[in-house]
Amino acid sequence: MAMRGHKEEKEVYRRKAKGLPKVATRIAGLDEVLNGGLPAGQTTLISGGPGTGKSVLGLEFLYRGAAAGEAGIFVTFEERAPGVRQNALTLGWDMAPLEKAGKLFLMEAHVDPQAVLSGDFNLKGLIAIINGKAAAMRADRIVIDALDVLLRLFDDPARERNELYVLHDWLIDHGMTTVLTVKTSKNGESSGRYEFLDFMANCVISLDQPVTEQIATRRLRVLKYRGSGFGRNEYPFCITDEGINIIPLSFAELQHKALGPRVSSGHPRLDALLDGGYRRGSCTLMSGTTGTGKTSVASTFVRSACERGEKVLYINFEESQEAMVSSMLSPGIDLRPALQAGRLRLLTAMPEAMGVEEHLSRAFKVIKAFQPEHVIVDAISSCERMGTRMTAFGYLTRVVNACKERGITLILINQTSGFREENEISGIGISSMVDTIIFLRYIEIGGEINRMLLVMKSRGSKHSNQYREFLVTDHGFEIPEVYVGEGGVLTGAARQEQEAREEAQHRRRFQEIEQKEREVIQTRAALQAQTATLKAELEAAEAQLQTLRLNEKLWQNGRKKRGEMRGQISDTARLPTPPPQRKRRGARRPGGAR
């Protein structure tokens, strides 16, 4: 990736190189590898097997130079000029205006295969043409593509060598910065026939394209650079629709921006666990087995960021855009408004679909053009499918670096393969680059699987160290209240059981009180009932008493009347009179009440 400080770096390299003048290639990343560019006025050899990108590299050098006003000549022995122009167009380079402006000259150096060879000949024709054209265009850079095709005409290694030296000397004498491309055999070593080219050239670049695990990766290596330092690694590169893109990992200096202010995760309770949310420009790793809700947590963040008017790039290696949008609808996270508003962009691709460099350059291109505030990568575990674990590591390191340099909040989703695989937490060994780790997992308690969430690490902030129960509902995810009962964190049924136990205890105490209350009421009711019965008995007794008294009175009256009728005799005195105490009312209790 060409960094923004490309030009300044170039200047630095110039000064460092102490007098070795260099010509910047302006090819993304190549000048970093070459410590500034190709040797000015000298010869650079690009060797590689067929299809490794030699011609493209040469052409891009000239195209970028021409676009910057430096005239150049492209001599091709293999391709026809219209074909070269067409190929250039697919790389986004329109050669025609530059050709018209006299900044670029495509020379179709086609040697008629029907041509008859008779006697000695040399390359003076070619040299004369280059000389004339270079003078007319004031060009000082030239690429001679597939020179070996021309050299084969000599049909004699000694003659080939002689002619090439003549050409080489002429080019150097005329101060031409020259790039020669030569095909090599498949194993990448230049064949013995053209070995002398390696000695002749001041700078030798080798390209190859090994296929590992069915994924081809283009690689570039500088084999030698006389009088200059250079990056000595094998640099993977890709040919994108913008040309060659080399991302020299070891040159990716750590120019990370400091962590920014908090940005909400889209969920108040997760914000609380994160001490206020994610830090802007930080890198969060969200790790967990499949189905633990990683994408839901990320999508919740995406939705809230887009609602605030921020832009999010979601790199999805797992699902297509449609599949992801519809799968997020079931937990109630609607990403469609964000997509429609152009704030969310999904970049989807099968990891196997292309080499790691192509993945990278696609991502970087979108990051550059779309300028997102946040980037999600789902899932980094899939990156291994781009090649090897090392490939994935390279990809992620560069994505993390690119985001950190731009102050982009990055969320990496990592799918761990098994239950309780703590060692997978770090995600392809990038944990040191990660600021925050959120771990989602299933736990099994009492024969039940529940989701748990843990903030494992959060650089530069306080954060909860508790496993929290985590639910995915049909209206987003939920982190229930912390269980505040006895014992540790409980989830699911275990939590419910414990809560039920407490509830029961509570209910029991309440019931005791209620029971007592009822007893009191019942006792009071019994008392009242007994009182009522006694009262009724009393009343009945009183009624009987009255009846008796009435009868007595009637009997007395009757006797008196009978006596009067019989003539009131003196024997009245012989009849007993009723006892005087019987006349007093209420003095005695009725015996039958008990």
Binding site: D120, N122, K124, G125, L126, L153
Partner: protein, 105 residues
């Protein structure tokens, strides 16, 4: 710059078809260019009975012609009178090759 060199006679062309018209590209006075020029003249005198024309182009002075004719190697002989395009690179020292190229064998 085109420079018409030795022009052979065109008379007698009617007896054995059309005359051969040659364009010889040379690089100044280089040794093999000089040889090619000499070899061509001898050849023409010997086999073409003066029914020929030779145009000499010095690529060092006229690179545009070299470019137009795609002459990367010198000396180069282009036969322009024949229907098929014939190019012969080299000093033309191998007379048999030249003869067969011109279909005169």
């Amino acid at each position: 710059m085109k420079r018409s060199g030795q022009k052979g006679r065109a008379e007698g062309a009617e007896t054995r078809g059309k005359a051969c018209i040659f364009r010889l590209f040379v690089a100044g006075d280089e040794r093999n260019s000089r040889q090619a020029r000499e070899n061509l003249t001898q050849f023409c005198e010997k086999y073409l009975n003066r029914r020929y024309e030779i145009e000499i182009v010095n690529v060092l002075e006229d690179f545009k012609s070299a470019l137009e004719n795609n002459v990367l190697l010198t000396p180069a002989l282009i036969v322009i009178s024949h229907l098929t395009h014939i190019t012969i690179f080299g000093t033309l020292s191998d007379t048999h090759k030249v003869l067969s190229a011109l279909q005169l064998t």
